[in-house]
Amino acid sequence: MIRLLYFASLRERLGRGDETLDRTPATVGRLRAELAGRGVPWSDVFAADQRVLAAVNQTMAGDDHTLADGDEVGFFPPVTGG
C-alpha cells in the first residue's frame, strides 16, 4: 500500500489531493505509467511531455526510485517559491 499526494495545478486538474493505492508498483516510473493509463485527465497530466516532479517520503525522486510498502509519493509541477 502506498499513499499518493497531488499538489497545486495537478490537484486541480485531477480533482483530488490524495488517495491510497492498495498495491505498491515497483518504481516511481511504473507508478506514473499506471496513473497515465487511467484515461483523461490522468493521461494528459502524466503524458511524457509534461514536467511532473515526484518525491518519495518527502525527498525528490527519479523514475528509477524503488517503492516500498507504506511509502508516501507526492506528485507536483515544477516549483515556483521564493
Binding site: F7, A8, Q58, M60, G74, F76, V79, T80, G81, G82
Partner: protein, 171 residues
Amino acid sequence: MDVEIRVQESPLDPLAEQAQVYAAGPQVGGVVSFVGLMRDINQGDRVRAMTLEHYPGMTEKALGAIVVEAGRRWQLDSVRIVHRVGEIRPQDPIVLVAVASAHRGEAFRACEFIIDYLKTRAPFWKREDMSDGQSRWVEARDSDDVAAASWADGSESPTTARGDARPGEKQ
C-alpha cells in the same frame, strides 16, 4: 551554526528576523539578507493577490537539506529562512534568507546559493489572482534552473554563467 526555518501564514517582518541573525555571536562580521517581494505585475498582467501553497513536511525537509549543503560549502554562524504561504498582497515580503558569517564573501555567496536552490528545490507553488478576476498558476522559469545549476557540486562560487533574467525575458 544557528538554523531557523519557518513556513508561516502570518506577515513576515524582515528587520525583526534579521535582528535575530545579528545576535549569533561576537564572531559575526557580517549579515547578508535577501528579501523576495510580491510584484503587482507578471507577464504584463496586473496581479491583485497571490496564494502560495506548499507541501507541509517536505518543505521543511528540503529547506533543511539546502542549509546543510550551504554549511558544508561555507563557514556560517547563522542561517534563517522564513517563507510565507497563504494569501499575499503586492509588496508583501514572500521570503527572507539571512546569513551571518565572520566574513562578507561567505555570507554573500551562501545567501545567493540558498535562494537559488530554494527556487528550484523547495515545494512551493504560486497562484496569481489577476485584476480581471481570472486566476492562474505561475510557470517555473528556465532562468531559475540555470542559476541553481551554476553552483556545481561542492563549489564555493558559481562555476557557470548565472542565468539571471535576460533583457526582454518575461518574469
